[in-house]
Amino acid sequence: MVKKADIILCVAVAAVMGAVIILFSLFAGNGKTVVITANGNSRETKLSVDNTVNITDSVLGSNTVVIKGGTVYVSEADCRDQICVNHAPISKEGEIIVCLPHKVTVEIR
């Protein structure tokens, strides 16, 4: 039922992708700008300046993004899955928080 090739395939995918994650976290520098895209419109703010942004562009709902001490997190969202609110604060280049139901992304560049 389980053939050798099955295990090799599973382990190989996990190992290669694990290596990608480790390399990424080793080499990603701290970002400078926060790019918030909501419903196709994007805006940029500085990561170094503490700020609170209310995103209300989306007809689907609203999110509150907090920039504090060089990290960014979503403090509030009126969606039901709350994945973006539970997401750990991000600070490194390339990291992203996504709110799928509201089509909102918060990216660090």
Binding site: M1, V2, K4, A5, C10, I83, I96, E107
Partner: protein
């Protein structure tokens, strides 16, 4: 009922498989997936899609998967989750079918390919819907999750096909 080579059996079979897949979709919607990465899930309904694929081929499995995704997401998800599920489903069924053609892979490998492909489909849909390639960041996390859950689901499918042999012999 000794011979199940009549025309009604496959129809009834698909109906039962669809009902079971919807039930598993519901069970899965009850799990609290508290991962930071959206899109990670066990993929229980894929047990049934894989059985349909193995027993009836891709011509039945692809519409089956799409129908399951459509009904399941309308009932337990949202319109957006439906788009992700559809994209994932198409890619996953095609990949499982292709891997099924390669002799040295078993059911588990087929399911691993399906899981990984499903998550790649979701990423593609997310890039299109969100309008930013930034979500590519999640790709390695989702591919690991797809491989691991795919393996588990594949082993489960293998067990069901083996233990319930008498139910799956027809045609």
């Amino acid at each position: 009922m000794s011979k199940r080579n009549n025309k009604a059996y496959p129809v009834a079979f698909i109906g039962v498989m669809l009902a079971a897949a919807l039930l598993l979709g519901y069970v899965e919607s009850l799990f609290p997936y508290d991962f930071a990465v959206p899109g990670i899930k066990l993929g229980l309904p894929n047990l049934l899609t894989l059985i349909v694929l193995k027993k009836m081929g891709i011509k039945t499995a692809l519409p089956f998967g799409l129908l399951r995704a459509a009904v399941s997401n309308v009932l337990f998800g949202s319109v957006l989750s439906l788009v992700y599920a559809m994209a994932g489903c198409i890619l996953s069924v095609i990949c499982m079918w292709l891997i099924g053609k390669v002799k040295f892979f078993g059911v588990a490998g087929q399911s691993v390919a399906g899981g990984v492909a499903h998550n790649i489909g979701q990423i593609v849909a997310a890039i299109a819907l969100l309008g930013t390639p930034g979500v590519l960041y999640y790709t390695p996390f989702l591919m690991i999750s797809g491989a691991v859950t795919g393996f588990v689901i594949g082993v489960g499918t293998g067990l069901i096909l083996e233990r319930g042999k008498q139910w799956f012999e027809f045609g």
